[in-house]
Symmetry: none
Subunit: 164 residues, 2 copies
DNA sequence: GTTCATTATGGGATATCATGGGAATTGATG
DNA sequence: CATCAATTCCCATGATATCCCATAATGAAC
């Protein structure tokens, strides 16, 4: 599927409607459902959303009877699905955010969409600024690095080196 | 995919448009999306860009190597995906650079495309000259040598080295 | 030296996107 | 069956981005 990247600041009108950024709409439309699934992001005052494909992955972790997922992970999946809203696009590509979600994220007038690859988040601009400002410093401090997974192309042998 | 090599100096017009060098266009087109993904290069006042395949590797790596909702995943995604712009080619093969990116790289009227193999960078000519001369000095001073990564040919056993 | 093909560039015309608000539909309730 | 509230649809609008075409620069071919 297409990648969700970048940041998009859109307005929430009096009726609680907000435009989903066009690139995100196109990406999730390709997954089948003409809308998005949105749930409260339990770690922070923010929302997280995705198309049908990602939600099915979460659902799959609940149906697994083996030991692939820990109890904690299953709980997380269950809680996420319980609190998820299925929001359809209107003809202009907007969704209307339920009050419960707006309260959790402290949304008021503006919604900042933040791309995360296969998902996206929705923040109030203020909360986002406060939370994200230290990301680069934190990553440096903790020495967090991203090991690139092997390319998807055939017959490529993985290397174990450190990404910058 | 085809390698991105060499330097190409193109103009940025009043609308913020700049032609992506033809060889780069052809290389990234083969990856699917008719455009490039560009993000700030945090170590220097420059931009880095790539085609869809590379960005998907980053996105997949975040999900494969890091736990969902972990702090490390949060911060690394924030640094990479959230600052990335998806820029489509116009019919002439141009992209229009967002102001935020131009500011980070100090771009004003000219954009120097620098090939880096599977990615490329965009510099203002002045910043590049300054940075490049410094890099050359450092290489001389430390007597740097270049250690090649293993070949990609079949049945090659992975090595654990770090590029010089 | 001339011609042709390709790429880069410039700018006006056009289409698209985000947004706002009224009209119409739905569904719950008495 | 009537009424109300909530939601969804429909259309208008302004800002922006995209398309389209013209032209210049480059280099290859004859």
């Amino acid at each position: 599927m297409a990648l969700l990247v970048g940041r998009h600041l859109n307005k929430i009108d009096k009726k609680g409607r907000v435009s989903v950024p066009k690139p995100y709409r196109e990406a999730v439309l390709a997954e089948g459902f003409a809308g998005v699934y949105i749930y409260p992001y339990f770690k922070f005052p923010a929302l997280e959303g995705a198309g049908e494909a990602f939600m099915k992955r979460i659902s799959a972790s609940l149906e697994d009877n083996l030991e692939l997922f820990s109890d904690a992970q299953e709980d997380l999946a269950a809680i996420t699905l319980e609190n998820t809203f299925q929001l359809s696009f209107d003809p202009e590509g907007r969704i209307s955010l339920p009050v419960e979600l707006c309260l959790h994220a402290g949304l008021d007038g503006q919604a900042l969409f933040v791309g995360r690859g296969s998902r996206f988040q929705i923040w109030s601009p203020d909360a986002y600024e406060e939370h994200r400002s230290g990301a680069l410093e934190r990553a440096k401090a903790t020495g967090a690095t991203l090991k690139l997974s092997p390319q998807l192309s055939p017959q490529q042998s993985p290397r174990k080196d450190r990404g910058a």
